[in-house]
């Protein structure tokens, strides 16, 4: 029996002549948590798909429990004890928890009829493996992401998994849910299961992993115990450059507030919210999911309509009835979910960038020249160093960070007074995150009033000159300047 559960040496894989993986080596020990880290597009997902049998490797050797594996199909991978929990979780949203848990094993067992008792038994057995308690008859689609994930883990355990691979499991989770997930992961680890955890979040990797494998541009640049690394070295390996955290310092704050929110209330979402925002400020709004922070932002952008309270822009009371009105009032909003709310993925980058400024680029009767669109897009491509050789390519060809730059450009090409950023760096890798932060600092110093809504506390601390903490729809704390620390925010939230 080998010391390692999974050993991969010299793995290469290319797609249409482009190397996705170059000579990757890495090992997973049983009973340990191993992190696969790297920026978006570095080949993490490709590697996982090779392990799970979705892709076939071009070169290299894979040993599982010391035995070489040459060709593997997803079904065989399952038999060997490899389970992958993908980001989309592969669940059936219309079925109940019980059905989701039992369906695979019941079908593999060749049963043709549904025996409720046996399904229930299977489901209960699955849940008992991690001591997780949930209503078996709840509809899967109605559960929170965290619960879905735990159900998916339970399902994986039914197959006597030896290696569980989790593809960026924490992306949509709150801090509390992440803690619960990590607790489960440790529990599994202690029972001898190897866990491979894919992530690009530094803090999480240091918190959970025993070993780490860092990838960059399809090569692994570091493999070894996590404790031998400092966070700084880790970031260096991941991005290939030294990064510094520049705390934002306000330069020119206006006397009069640009935006004033006065006793704003949206039924069942938030209550009695009041704050002011000045030019040159970056105001952070933080709080757990469901604290009303997103609804507050949507109210300022005309997508929610609070009945009570008022909003003032430059001293004048305004009613923001729609995003069109918000645009007229010079308010821009970069939404939380880039893929569904921010971008038209299967359309050119150029059309995405200019979508909100077509009026400016066209003449009085709505005629527009394609060249004007391309020229405008090229300006933003240069300004934000969006990594593409041609702005006519689809937005879907870009990585998360570059996509976020498109959404930002879309609003910045308008003349704005207030810019609201909701989760500006969710799913964005460390390098691009720094770029975006630096950009926002510049904008604020040029006189823009910025609101950042985020549950990434380190982001809030680094970027904001003032922070409002929301809890259950109410403002429960406010701090500014050097008073802003992660611990203080956490104290208030909890």
């Amino acid at each position: 029996m080998s010391e390692y559960l999974l050993e991969m040496t010299g793995i290469c894989k290319s797609f249409a002549g482009v190397h996705a993986l170059k000579n990757v080596n890495f090992k997973v020990r049983p009973g340990k948590v191993m992190c696969l880290a790297g920026e978006n597009g570095c080949g993490k997902s490709t590697l996982v798909k090779i392990i799970s049998g979705v892709y076939t490797k071009d070169e290299g050797e894979v040993l599982f429990e010391g035995k070489p594996i040459t060709k593997i199909t997803p079904a065989e991978a399952t038999k060997l004890g490899i389970q992958v929990i993908y980001q989309d979780l592969s669940i059936f949203p219309n079925l109940t928890v019980m059905e989701n848990l039992a369906i695979n094993s019941e079908i593999t067992a060749g049963k043709k009829l549904v025996n409720r008792k046996s399904w229930e038994a299977t489901a209960k057995e699955a849940l008992s493996k991690i001591g997780y308690d949930i209503d078996l008859n709840a509809k899967m689609g109605e559960l929170s992401v965290a619960d879905k994930q735990l159900v998916a883990i339970c399902r994986a355990l039914l197959f006597d998994a030896k290696l569980i691979i989790m593809d960026e499991p924490t992306t949509a989770l709150t801090k509390k849910e992440v803690d619960a997930l990590f607790k489960t992961a440790r529990q599994l680890r202690d029972s001898g299961i190897a866990i491979m955890f894919i992530s690009h979040k530094t803090e999480e990797i240091f918190e959970i992993s025993d070993d780490v494998c860092i990838m960059r541009n399809g090569e692994n640049v570091y493999a070894g115990p996590t404790k031998d690394l400092t966070p700084k070295e880790f970031t260096y390996h991941m991005t290939g450059r030294e990064l510094t955290d520049d705390h934002f310092v306000t330069r020119n704050v206006s006397k009069e507030p640009v935006l004033k929110v006065d006793h704003l209330t949206l039924k069942n979402k938030f209550t009695d919210v009041s704050f002011e925002l000045r030019e040159g400020e970056i105001l952070g709004i933080t709080g757990l999911l469901g604290s009303g922070r997103t609804e507050l932002a949507l109210s300022l952008f005309g997508l929610e309509h609070p009945k009570e309270g008022s909003i003032y822009l430059n001293g004048e009371a305004v009613k923001i009835s729609s995003p069109i009105k918000a645009q007229k009032l010079k308010i821009g909003y970069v939404p939380e979910d880039r893929l569904t709310e921010g971008l038209c993925l299967q359309q050119p980058i150029s059309d995405n960038i200019t979508l909100s400024s077509l009026k400016r680029l066209s003449n009085a009767i709505g005629l527009i020249k394609n060249k004007d669109i391309l020229d405008d897009a090229d300006i933003w491509k240069e300004k934000f160093s969006i990594k593409t050789d041609d702005v006519r390519k689809f937005a879907s060809t870009l990585s998360g960070g570059n996509q976020q730059k498109i959404v930002l450009s879309k609003w910045l090409s308008n003349d704005l007074d207030v810019l609201i950023l909701n989760g500006p760096t969710v799913g964005v890798d460390v390098g691009a995150k720094q770029d975006i932060h630096a950009l926002v600092h510049d904008l604020a110093n040029e006189g823009l009033a910025v609101i950042i809504i985020s549950d990434d506390l380190s982001e809030v601390v680094v970027n904001c000159s003032r922070v409002i903490v929301m809890k259950e729809g109410r403002i429960v704390g406010e701090m500014s300047g050097d008073d802003i620390t992660e611990n203080k925010i956490l104290e208030i939230i909890r």
Partner: protein, 340 residues
């Protein structure tokens, strides 16, 4: 040269496929029906027939690009034309001067436009404001219009079309350009212009790709959808007006088979109801191909029009199979790939 062709082909899958299809069809009929295919009569038939559903195809194309579908356009058009022909019948008298008849025709066209716009507004409001899935909303409206027309006419054809109108519909301008074809060409050019050179066209494609993102980008998505249905349904009603001029009457169930034909042509041209994709030039190629098939089939005495519909169906399946190669992962109705 060859490299240029290859480059074009790889970038314009549908165009290449449709041009090849057209070439094969022309070659096939030239060989098998050498005597009859290349005659003035055959081509006169071809250019007389397709403008009717060609117009409807252009109309519905706008709905498809916006990510919607319209099933009600023929029923709506029939209702509109019934009302127009009723007006014509009531106001046309023996011995009217041409000038008076032009007046009657213009008013009846206005009636068609107004009813078409009304139908479009209803469709648009049902979809954009009441969030009813487009297929359901427009099928329901199809039943409403069909029921209304049948109840009004007891299912009989409505006659009494102003003679001048029928005459214009059969006129050959300059001896070779039928008026319906001219109408089609004009509408086609306007549509192509709208899609390519206006902000409306840009926004239409973006809404079709992701209506939510468009809304978050301060686009008036609801207004756009209603406007698009109004435009589409007015164009479709004009298509039905061309039918009136050929049939010399209006009826509750004229052209009902066009609903499926139009969808077939659009899918053939790569304009899918998923929205956000498709080129109008390909739509033109698809319209012509479909018409050549049905005209060609008519030349075989052993075949009847149903065989043409059989060939269309087979063709559609072949195109769908091919298109899975174009798109990589095939047809995805309302499903977007999640980026991992």
């Amino acid at each position: 040269m060859l490299a240029k062709v290859k480059n074009f082909a790889s970038k314009n899958n549908y165009t290449t496929m449709l041009l090849s299809l057209l070439a094969v069809l022309l070659l096939f009929f030239s060989i098998t029906k050498a005597g009859t295919f290349w005659t003035v009569g055959t081509w006169k038939g071809i250019v007389m027939q397709f403008p009717e559903y060609g117009l409807m195809t252009i109309g519905v194309m706008f709905c498809f690009i916006s990510g919607n579908i319209d099933m009600s356009f023929v029923a709506l058009g029939d209702f509109a034309t019934i009302m127009a022909v009723r007006y014509m019948a009531a106001h046309t008298t023996e011995g009217m001067s041409n000038g008076q008849m032009v007046g009657v025709i213009l008013v009846s066209l206005l009636i068609v436009i107004l009813i078409g716009a009304l139908g479009g507004v209803i469709n648009g409001v049902l979809i954009a404001y009441l969030n009813i899935p487009p297929v359901m909303a427009t099928i329901a409206m199809q039943l409403v219009w069909l029921g209304l027309s049948t109840a009004l006419t007891q299912g009989y054809a409505v006659t009494g079309v102003t003679p001048l109108f029928t005459e214009i519909g059969h006129t050959m301008l300059f001896g070779f350009l039928p008026v319906p074809l001219l109408v089609f060409i004009v509408v086609f050019l306007i549509a192509a212009f709208l899609l390519k050179y206006t902000t409306y066209g840009k926004k239409l494609y973006m809404i079709g790709t992701n209506v939510k993102a468009a809304r978050f980008s301060a686009i008036n998505t609801r207004g756009m959808i209603i406007g698009t249905f109004v435009l589409a349904d007015i164009i479709c009603c004009f298509g039905c007006m061309l039918m009136v001029s050929t049939m010399n009457s209006a009826k509750a169930d004229y052209g009902t088979s066009y609903v499926m034909n139009v969808i077939l042509i659009l899918v053939l041209a790569g304009v899918l109801p998923d929205g956000g994709m498709g080129k109008i030039f390909n739509v033109l190629l698809a319209i012509i191909s479909i018409q050549i098939i049905s005209s060609g089939v008519n030349m075989f005495s052993s075949l009847n029009p149903y065989h043409a519909s059989m060939i269309w169906g087979g063709l559609l399946i072949i195109v769908l199979i091919l298109s899975t190669r174009f798109n990589g992962s095939g047809f995805k109705l309302r499903k977007r790939k999640k980026k991992v």
